[in-house]
Symmetry: C2
Subunit: 541 residues, 2 copies
């Protein structure tokens, strides 16, 4: 029994419900919720005094990269760098501190934040790395920056043609590779990077779980689970170390079949792990101009971005998954990509009937004419509020002023009847749901800009936004019967937080501190204990 709490939960009908105590069974499920005036039983196996603190459901991050999140903590982190020089200084310091690492790996850079007006070059990177190969992925994961040694290791020269769906950025006025590779060209170098050791995978997974727990994330949808990652999840689970719930979308149909076999896995380890379906990609990202648009980029006339595959191939892959009842989640950023996925769903829905919950991941730039199509087949819009705040200036540059009505169009999509599932895309953005909630209700960044919010007509109410991080995200992973709200029979996943989100302003909501994270009725993280331990650990690395 957890009593004396200021409990808040989505009621599953679009509103919020308040309660004062939770009775939790030994199986980790909620046996009863006690509201104001309802007297909890005196005799229970144990009691915990919540001391009046605010208790909310565990947050569900509907779009993460679990292993990427862990590896981002183990490799060079260029996020937040404000100039190329700052980035190069950080790279040089990392290289000096890690003389035994065969490849210098990392990511998080964004040339837009550097005000560079172009992509960085291999020659610039060479200054910081010397002759050791280096490979640094862009913040969105859709491009990578190689130094000369890495280009050489991959055999990329002026004679190398752009691979399908990809681009080798060339030096001014020539054919020589400049250093950055986009989308379909990324594997040319990424494929040469030595694979991580199994123990690295396990360490990365442990790091990722810690990040989620600290941020109050109790369940995630892992977008692009490889067999290697799946094995790491199971290894942890077999030793009792799987804490955060993971619903996996396999990295393509081969890993889907390898992991799931003839269909989705059952829920494993007390509902902590499940393979639900497959993650497919139809286009790239807006920042690297890889998103597939209906008409030209405003800042690159004549260029519309690239699909990663034909409509036929997309349909075939979706079909291969759907025939075995795997759930399909397709990455689509540009308006053309979104339209193409919607058309594919339209087509496939005739054959694959029933409750399919097709997911579009990001649904970032949607032609307003297509918004209504989301509601038609119960398509789920899996979106990331933090992207709006981080990318709005870049988006304006890429799209121009006339295509912003369907950009990060949360309210319009919700109005079309789609279910919103919110996430972070970590490691692209930190898995910080209270930051996401603040953005979702304000369309403003940490700096409060722009005043009044960007395209403010797309703001959500707090109950709407909270639902997208809880009941909506649970529904999107076929878990609404066990996760997403605090009610009888549901898993007891909840947080103690330091403020009431329903009365917070966007500024204060963003600063919400998670005090304790509970999963399955067990305390999985405690800020007062783990913060000190975590700092000590970080200092020792």
């Amino acid at each position: 029994m957890i009593e004396n709490v200021a409990g808040i939960t989505p009621d599953g009908k679009g509103g919020l419900e308040r309660f004062e105590a939770l009775l939790i069974g030994e199986d980790g499920r909620i046996r009863e919720v006690y509201h104001k005036g309802e007297k909890p039983p005196e005799r229970v196996a144990y009691k915990l005094d919540g001391k009046g603190r605010v208790l909310v459901p565990g947050m569900i991050d509907a779009h993460v990269h679990v292993m990427g999140t862990g590896f981002a903590r183990m490799t060079l982190d260029l996020s937040g760098t404000k100039s190329l020089d700052e980035a190069l200084a950080r790279i040089a310091a990392y290289a000096a501190a890690h003389p035994d690492v065969p490849w210098l790996l990392g990511g998080g850079w964004n040339q837009v934040d550097w005000g560079l007006g172009r992509m960085p070059t291999a020659a610039e990177l060479d200054q910081a790395t010397g002759g050791r190969p280096a490979w640094l992925t862009r913040v969105d994961g859709h491009a990578g920056w190689a130094n000369s040694a890495a280009l050489a290791a991959a055999g990329i020269s002026a004679a190398t043609a752009d691979p399908a769906g990809g681009q080798i950025v060339r030096r001014d006025g020539g054919k020589a590779p400049a250093g950055v590779l986009v989308d379909g060209a990324v594997p040319l170098v990424a494929g040469k990077v030595p694979p991580p050791r199994a123990s690295d995978l396990d360490t990365a997974f442990a790091e990722a779980q810690l990040v989620f727990l600290k941020n109050g994330v109790t369940a995630v949808a892992d977008m692009g689970t490889t067999i290697e990652a799946w094995q790491a999840f199971r290894r942890a689970a077999d030793l009792g170390n799987l804490r955060v719930r993971i619903v996996s979308y396999a990295a393509g149909v081969d890993d889907m079949a390898l992991i799931g076999g003839p269909g989705p896995s059952p829920w494993l380890y007390d509902d902590r792990l499940k393979l639900a379906g497959v993650k497919l990609y139809l286009d790239g990202a807006l920042g690297s101009s890889g998103a597939w648009l209906k008409s030209s980029y405003a800042d690159a006339p004549g260029t519309t971005g690239l699909p990663t595959m034909s409509d036929t191939k997309l349909g075939n892959l979706m079909s291969r998954a759907a025939i075995d009842r795997f759930q399909v989640a397709v990455h689509a950023i540009g308006d053309k990509a979104n339209a193409a996925v919607l058309s594919a769903i339209d087509e496939l829905s005739h054959t694959y009937t029933g409750d399919r919950r097709w997911r579009i991941e990001h649904a970032q730039i949607v032609d307003p004419a297509d918004i209504a199509r989301f509601g038609q087949h119960g398509v789920i819009a899996s979106m990331q509020p933090q992207h709006e705040a981080s990318d709005r200036i870049m988006a304006e540059a890429r799209l121009g002023p006339d295509r912003l009505a369907g950009a990060y169009a949360w309210k319009s999509l919700a109005a079309s009847g789609t279910t919103l599932a919110f996430g972070s895309d970590t490691p692209v953005e930190p898995p910080a749901p209270f930051v996401g909630l603040a953005v979702a209700i304000s369309r403003q960044g940490a700096d409060g800009q722009p005043a009044g919010g960007w395209q403010p007509q797309e703001r959500l109410t707090l109950p709407q936004a909270l639902a997208a991080y809880t009941t909506g995200a649970a529904y999107a992973m076929f878990a609404e019967d066990r996760l997403g709200r605090l009610a009888r029979g549901m898993r007891a996943d909840f947080l103690f937080v330091d403020r009431d989100p329903t009365t917070a302003t966007p500024e204060t909501l963003r600063q919400t501190r998670v005090l304790e994270t509970w999963i399955n009725g067990q305390k999985a993280w405690d800020a007062s204990k783990d913060a000190a331990k975590d700092e000590a650990k970080s200092a020792g690395r």
Copy 2:
């Protein structure tokens, strides 16, 4: 409580012990064993009257191919064919009965049994198959027979050179491929066969488990577990359908690291699944003249067979496994291969100290001068008695009369201090431990030949042979603390059989019928019920 039984179990000290009742806990472990004159408690949760039947430990098959065993039941089975014509007739019948199968697959043929004096040809196979590709593996799995369509699909022509460690058998007096591919050449065609669907894997695994249960095999060492097979095992286990205990030796170091990560897995699913280590191959088989001999084949002067890799590579692979405490099992058939593995172990034992239990799989032909080396580092001889009976005439032809002293030399190896672990190599031989026991004590085949036994000085006593199928096989998989004999604290895996093996003759021992197979204190198979069901199922296929 299982009472009123004629219980027999190895006592763990080389002898046998008799008992009358077993008390089994709810956890599937034996709580107490009651011997003659010891009175079991009256009040127990349940009682089963054994009706005086003979009860022995579940048999452990120390060398199986689980998925191969299942697939052998789903594909064309040529075992037992006595002539090429008989085989071709069976192939033609299978092809006619399966018009929708894209590739005709199967195995179990042995050209020695056909009295052919040569390998069969693609042209002969074409007569039975028509233009559909066909690929039929030899009984030992070390060679395959392709038809013209399969050779064409693999692009094999007169211009194709023999790959490393392999041979493309050529047509008389020419370079054109004849049809059979040996060892390192096998993947040329095998790699073109469409992979099985996940549902086929699950069906094959279910078939394999049934075969084991019917034969009284309660635990197996799977030699060469792929990630696909491991996933099938886990899928079954996650649904509660894993019944037989499997200890896996991964199919090479890549699958080892993928499955196990930084080390062997823990025991999973109530001790029903574990990844222990890796299976490596150093040579081929004697039948296909792929075994690596110290001096020439008697029937092929100038030919000594082939190692699949250099000593350096073998050492490197063994080292890569041992450094992470994976157990190493190396296939070695020929005397040269056995000597090379023993030398590698000798070398590595300086670095990788402690209880390693290096395994040599088959140890079929050992130079008598090397036998003593097995005892030196606690090397385990994982051998298959049935091979001796099936292959003795072929072995005489390959080796000549002067190299038989170290062939299937069970007694000599045991005397050297090695632990014997016996198995079947199913699907090469049926997983029939009572047949194996009969051969082990008689060195005779089902026909009672040769009179007095072949190289009879290598016969074992029944307690020795039984130990090799129970305590020895358990020790070989690091499971002697839970499997292999019936004693307090051990898993309650046992069989009811229709006769007392200690008083049976080789002829009657071979005919032992398994009445019931129990695993973890639960009945997993019952001849009186499942035989009828099984027949009905087979008839319907």
